[in-house]
């Protein structure tokens, strides 16, 4: 896998996490919306935080679709979860928020899960091609 592809996966994790955080920040200042005023939600787009959040979520979608074009769904999805780790680390070290031991355990589990997948091939079809190549080379060496 090339460095560019790792950057795309990093984008999937970072853009999704940043987008979600911006939306949450925007909706907190926008206030609760009653079900009877559901169309009032449309004006939430004009909130600067929400607007910026949507921009980041569009970037997330481009990176996500790009990653799915060359990697398996079961390879890309753990990368999206890695975004939660980003948010927790930013909250701890930049915003100095307290992170409970249970949450640290969650961070360790996600990181380990991402590590498991990242160590393997990104696509089942790549694996199959590899298998065919080795089968061909074995066939070639036969007398």
């Amino acid at each position: 896998m090339t460095a560019g592809k790792y950057f795309v996966l990093l984008g999937v994790a970072a853009f999704g996490a940043i987008g979600d955080t911006l939306l949450a920040r925007g909706m907190k200042s926008f206030g609760a919306v009653a079900p009877s005023q559901i169309f009032h939600l449309l004006s939430a787009v004009l909130n600067p935080w929400v607007f910026l959040g949507i921009f980041f979520l569009l970037a997330f979608m481009s990176a996500y679709l790009s990653a799915l074009s060359w990697a398996d769904l079961t390879y890309v999805l753990p990368a999206t979860a890695f975004g939660y780790v980003f948010i927790a680390v930013i909250a701890r070290f930049l915003l100095h928020e307290h992170i409970s031991p249970v949450r640290w355990l969650g961070i360790v589990l996600i990181t380990a899960g991402v590590g498991f997948v990242a160590g393997g091939p990104e696509s089942s079809s790549t694996k199959k091609t590899g298998g065919t190549e080795s089968a061909l080379s074995t066939a070639g060496t036969r007398p």
């Binding site: 679709l65 799915l68 398996d72 769904l73 969650g106 961070i107 996600i110």
Partner: protein, 126 residues
């Protein structure tokens, strides 16, 4: 009954978002490597090619359904239950769906990862 509707909401989120993810993944496999396509035909043609894929549009429609299911679930249950439960169950459901419908080779390494990530998300979001 409140509890029932909240879990019904979680079930709907898991089903719609897993279907959406699988459709998006299938669409992008049909299109092929976007990086290579962009080098060959340019960015405008690549975007057009992606937007013209029917399963992509269907996938996005399911993602929208999943978003409304989330709103439904949140109106009946607490965010501390709905968020982690739906996110972690979706990871495991996606591993099953990818194996069944996308015929991905979900080996022991990927099963372990799906379970670890699901457990991690549950603990982190809870």
């Amino acid at each position: 009954m409140t509890h029932f509707y909240a879990w019904l909401g979680v079930f709907l989120i898991v089903v719609t978002s897993t279907t959406g993810d699988c459709l998006l993944a299938r669409a992008m496999k049909q299109v092929g490597d976007l990086g290579a396509l962009r080098k060959q035909r340019g960015i405008a043609q690549t975007i057009l090619r992606v937007l013209r894929t029917p399963s992509l549009m269907l996938g996005i429609a399911f993602m929208a359904l999943s978003f409304f299911s989330l709103l439904f679930a949140l109106s009946w249950g607490d965010v501390s239950m709905v968020g982690p439960a739906s996110a972690s169950l979706t990871f495991v459901a996606n591993a099953f769906a990818a194996k069944l419908f996308l015929h991905e080779r979900v080996d022991r390494r990927r099963w372990t990862a799906a379970v670890f990530v699901a457990a991690g998300v549950f603990l982190l979001a809870g």
